[in-house]
């Protein structure tokens, strides 16, 4: 499909926005690195060559007696010294750059946990002797994926709700607006605490719970766009042509309403990341042990004598949010029709 001149112009404005443009690239690089977290930070070797055969412990599970006849036929513990020695007698293995996963407990620390940064633990370890860098990599991925999923589903629901309100107007709009006013008055945190005492808040439980409230962010904008859009002459013409309501909304109003919506998305995304981090910080978020940036902040707060925890959490979370905000600014500018391209 050929790009329309408008799209080309928007891309040009985006590119001209250096800060946002570079932020997008840095974010994309970091995110794609983190997508392959298992290959970068893991407590299993990437490849084992043992007895003339190739093994890929990152991808598959092997039992211990595959490599060491003396070991138990349970899942192999590649960090075990005897297993390592046995592998080295008949082959070799290649470890990831960081030989720790987010939940690997390092028993051979030179200093009591939380131990300061060293050659083995670049960012030190937390108070449970887990490698901070590994946790940050997994945590970054989890935060961004959570944010993306929440933003995508919440936007879809929010746009649909706003579209229905704006398009039909009248009583539908009135009732919907009152419902949203009541619903947004719900004390989210209390509900979450109550929920936490009934269910274990997993990734999906948290996502569904936050969805219940976050879809409302976009409805206002989309509603306004649809209220405006439904009185446009080409929308009237489409109705006179007997085009169904759904098709009118989808084909004639939504594309124009999307501009206002798209500019909000990066900010919604950074908002979702913040919400997850704050819930984790308070302890109402993901189950304990999950690699989360919020939990790292709370560990930093509990271990002020180990400043590398707090500083790492601050830099990573602050950096992530800054990147997203810069990208958001650039997107907003590129959709701004009054923006003059120099």
């Amino acid at each position: 499909m050929a790009l329309s001149s408008l799209t080309k112009r928007r891309l040009a404005v985006f590119r001209a926005h250096r800060r946002g443009f570079w932020s997008l690239w840095i974010f994309l690089v970091l995110f794609s690195i983190c997508l392959f977290a298992e290959f970068i930070a893991n407590d299993r070797p990437l490849v084992i060559y043992y007895g003339g055969h190739w093994y890929f412990p990152v991808l598959f599970d092997y039992s211990g007696d595959t490599f060491d006849p003396a070991a138990m036929p349970t899942e192999a513990d590649y960090r075990d010294a005897e297993l390592q020695a046995s592998i080295h007698t008949k082959g070799w293995m290649l470890w990831p750059l960081i030989p720790y996963s987010y939940n690997t407990v390092a028993y051979d620390l030179s200093a009591p946990a939380p131990s300061p940064p060293s050659w083995r633990h670049w960012l030190g370890t937390d108070d449970e002797a887990r490698d901070v860098l590994a946790r940050v990599i997994y945590g970054f991925r989890l935060s961004v994926l959570f944010g993306f999923t929440l933003t995508a589903i919440a936007s879809a629901i929010g746009i649909a709700a706003g579209a229905v309100q704006g398009f039909y107007g009248g009583l539908v709009d009135l009732l919907f607006q009152r419902f949203i006013e009541m619903w947004s008055g719900m004390p989210q945190l209390y509900l979450l605490i109550i929920l936490g005492s009934i269910l274990t808040p997993s990734f999906w439980v948290l996502l569904v719970f936050l969805l219940l409230f976050s879809w409302m962010h976009l409805t206002g904008v989309v509603r306004a766009e649809f209220l405006r859009g439904r009185s446009l002459d080409y929308v009237r013409a489409a109705r006179a042509l007997g085009v169904s309501d759904l098709a009118v909304m989808w084909r004639h109003i939504l594309p124009n309403a999307m501009v206002a919506t798209l500019t909000f998305l990066p900010f919604t995304l950074s908002g979702s990341v913040t919400v997850l981090a704050s819930l984790d910080f308070l302890g109402f978020g993901l189950p304990p042990g999950s690699p989360s940036l919020g939990e790292l902040i709370s560990e930093g707060k509990n271990n002020l004598q180990a400043p590398w925890l707090g500083i790492t959490a601050f830099v990573v979370l602050g950096g992530l949010l800054t990147l997203l905000i810069f990208i958001g600014e650039a997107v907003r500018d590129s959709f701004d029709p009054r923006k003059i391209l120099v």
Partner: protein, 342 residues
Amino acid sequence: MSETPLASLPKPAPTEGHPLLEVRKLRKFFPTRAHTFGLRRQWVRAVDEVSFALERGKTLALVGESGCGKSTVGRSILRLVEPTGGEILLDGAHIEALSERRLRPLRRRMQVVFQDPFSSLNPRLTVYEILAEPIRNFGLAQGREAERARIARLLEAVRLPRDALSRRPHEFSGGQRQRIGIARALAPDPELLVCDEAVAALDVSVKAQILNLLADLQESLGLAVLFISHDLAVVEHLAHRIAVMYLGRIVEEAPNEALFAAPHHPYTRALLSAVPVPDPFAPRRRIVLKGDVPSPLHPPPGCHFHTRCPYAVARCREEVPKLRSVGPGHVSACHFDIPLAS
């Protein structure tokens, strides 16, 4: 145009005895924002008991100042706004209360051309997509080839170049866009065309071209046209009958020649005296009305026009004048027969 490029579909056999469109006592009141305490809701009486009939193949012009309700009449007929009361008959069948689903097949028979050639076309669709929508929507062409052929005939009918199809509306001039709008309205092969100020936004020379096109199309396709305009000079060339509206009511309706030769209602006379004459030395007696159009929220009692009428007497303030016959096919809503020369 000698041949009819669009007369490809069998039309329902004209039923004898009743006009194509008949409007009886049509009313449309718009609610204003409710009183502060919701006690008293006021109504804008945009259209108040308007009745007229439109024969097949004829043009009825609906003339009046802006805000007199003429566009609302057009939109009510197309059911783009819901009438408050009255009857609308298309080919003898009531359509004022049909559900949107039952109305849909009838929408094919009545189409609309809007005033603003810029807002009446979706800027994101190509001309082909704009014209294909009604054809697909009503299932008027089987297969891609038939669709293309039909669209090519439409382009020919409105005299647009063939290479227009892949372009988007912003690449055309106002007059060309209006041709696209007309082609879209003709796409489902309608019997009734509502032109809502269809030439008001165009330059004088372009206006003439579009008027000629409309006149040609009407003749070759046998369309009935409801031509809504504020410009009597435009209407003179096109209309068979002219209805003059003032503040939601029809004050005079007459055949074209009769209205221009012997206007009966004082308002019509004032309107006619404002039509520019292309002769600077022609003797002119401009009737300048005093005051403004009263608010349709609080229309004056009696004859709506009495606040500005130079002939108003006590009776005009109390008694609503009925439309009465003042000549062959000529009705007027004035209590008196004021001699033309006065």
